[in-house]
Assembly symmetry: C3
Homo-oligomer: 259 residues x 3
């Protein structure tokens, strides 16, 4: 490897600086490529929404990822599906059989009162590492900042490991506007009393990744990264792409992309 | 596999509920991944426009797909190319040598009177299963609904198996506006007297897939699906993604994405 | 292969008609697929910006590409990184150890006077084939045409093999507006006194590729092509996709896409 002089990056197993990718059904050749080229840059592989249970060869894929030190998480929609169909015990048992210790709890598609959600977080935090998602999947449903703060604080108290802020595969909802633009005021308000390290920000678009890195440094936790963008994201974290080059190199050019 | 309780889906070989994907030159590792993860969800693999004859290792790829039960079709532009260059006999012979029994007839790039097109459909319907495309590739060329209906009715009478409605790889023409929005009035008019099962709707964008599934159910025929979106589309058909979750789960949240 | 009657295309090793692709970390299965399906259509593989040194298994990947006749080039940002960190000798030695004879010089993220840039071109032209990039990465930084012309002319005089016009991975800067639209007046002015063959135009978007092919013919040099678009680009060059079909087939339909 070329001897790079780059900003300090945490190493695996990390607690901060996490890269959480979204997979929508990659096969084993693609997964092998991902491991060979980028395994040190990936912490969690999420099988997006309900794609996991539909993916052929799933168990071989899980094994391949696990033996290479990549943690697996099924998408929140699969949890919600299990919840509304009375299959939660089957779901959690099924995860445990596969040695999966992460679970994402969300309510993007179902109605769940805060109390119900907190009680689920509490219950599963005893057996799993819980990722709990906040924010609506619906671009038209904007939640007031004080409600975000209240829900997040109580969810962490209930035992969640990290909070995932909703962005979808597209990066057009939750902490983003429909255009993909970041609701910066909302994020400021949320982080008034809470550590940025408690969050995984879903940020599938490059401009969003750039914003979070400029704001919170190379070791911000970012989620819903496309598999094909993992190395690109790592270059952004390390100032090896023009968009963040000037963050780490004084007297260089500040670049704004049109994306 | 996790025991899912999902809407009824047709099984292969299907006559309805078809997923028709567009390939623009995948190699054998990617095709193997696709087969391993999703072969039950794919009915037809189209080698888009003229990419097929330029793809290295084509015959090995064809064999790999065929022995795994995936039907192959070359893009309409290749047919049109053969037509204007006086190579139709060579083209159809070449397909038959490879055991390909699907043929797409289209006139997106050439001038063909309706009578000529119908006579080609009639001629090739004797040797092939004919997919006949309607709708212009040109975003500025909008055809009146009554002309769509007349052309479609006569094409089916001439022996076409299914009608493909043009959408391109991008989903920005034919039954869509340049923005990707669906021309719903046009589709309503077309389906007044014709069964939805006679159509394969090219619908490369997620929002388009969602619309067709909400309108016509899980077993609507959809085309020009990106290889990387096959499992995602299957989750939409089965209510395992938030966009269609509420279709199949009463009392859940109706989600609108910005895409 | 099907016997096509297509426009004249140059063969490898080419001096014009180059296709230069941008890779952001593909693994060896994907690279093998690319070679199997499209190696004759690819001249240069660029490891975009700083992705190269971060890609696991890099040396095996370089070897695989080289033994199949694909030239390798690291992105300009890596050069700039080496420049500002005083690592240029290490960088160029590292390239030579790997048998890489192409080098891209750019100043998208650093401040370099024209004189400094020319002296670097001159220095490295003795040991490498130099690709020199012009145009800003910043969408808001618009350079006057006469400055482009002056810089390009002098860079060629200093020994650069080709000039790369900046477009980024997105195609939204340099010779393009933020919308991806082409600055046609700028290109006209640049080509008043300079041969089109001295340029590699970064043109990642299909509409941009179509424009250059219509303007300058099938053998225009195009860069920053996504690996997944290589065969598609070749169909555009050869009139096997509707967007350029009418260029090579009189009496066919002129198609405008919405993209």
């Amino acid at each position: 490897m070329f001897p790079l002089a780059v900003p300090e990056r945490t190493a695996k197993p990390r607690d901060r600086g996490l890269t959480h990718i979204i997979d929508k059904g990659l096969g084993c050749h693609a997964i092998t490529d991902l491991i060979d080229t980028a395994k040190n840059y990936i912490d969690i592989v999420k099988f997006g929404w309900g794609t996991g249970p539909l993916t052929g060869g799933l168990d071989a894929k899980i094994e391949l990822l696990q033996k290479n030190g990549l943690k697996i998480c099924f998408g929140g929609t699969f949890f919600e599906y299990a919840y509304v169909n009375g299959l939660l015990d089957k779901y959690t048992g099924w995860l445990e059989e596969r040695g999966i210790d992460l679970i994402e709890l969300s309510d993007g598609s179902i109605h769940l009162s805060l109390e119900e959600k907190l009680s689920l977080v509490e219950r599963y935090a005893k057996r799993f590492t819980v990722l709990s998602e906040v924010g609506s999947k619906d671009v038209n449903h904007v939640v007031a900042p004080y409600k975000w703060v209240r829900e997040i604080t109580r969810t962490l108290e209930a035992g969640a490991y990290k909070i995932i802020t909703e962005g979808r595969e597209s990066g057009t909802t939750g902490v983003f506007r429909g255009s993909g633009e970041i609701r910066t005021g909302l994020i400021e308000e949320i982080l008034q009393d809470l550590s940025v390290d408690k969050f995984i920000f879903e940020a599938p678009q490059k401009s969003q990744q750039v914003w979070f890195i400029k704001q919170f440094g190379p070791n911000v936790n970012l989620g819903n990264i496309a598999a094909s963008d993992v190395i690109s994201l790592e270059t952004l974290r390390l100032g090896l792409r023009s968009d963040t080059f000037s963050e780490f190199h004084p007297n260089s050019v500040d670049v704004t992309d049109a994306e």
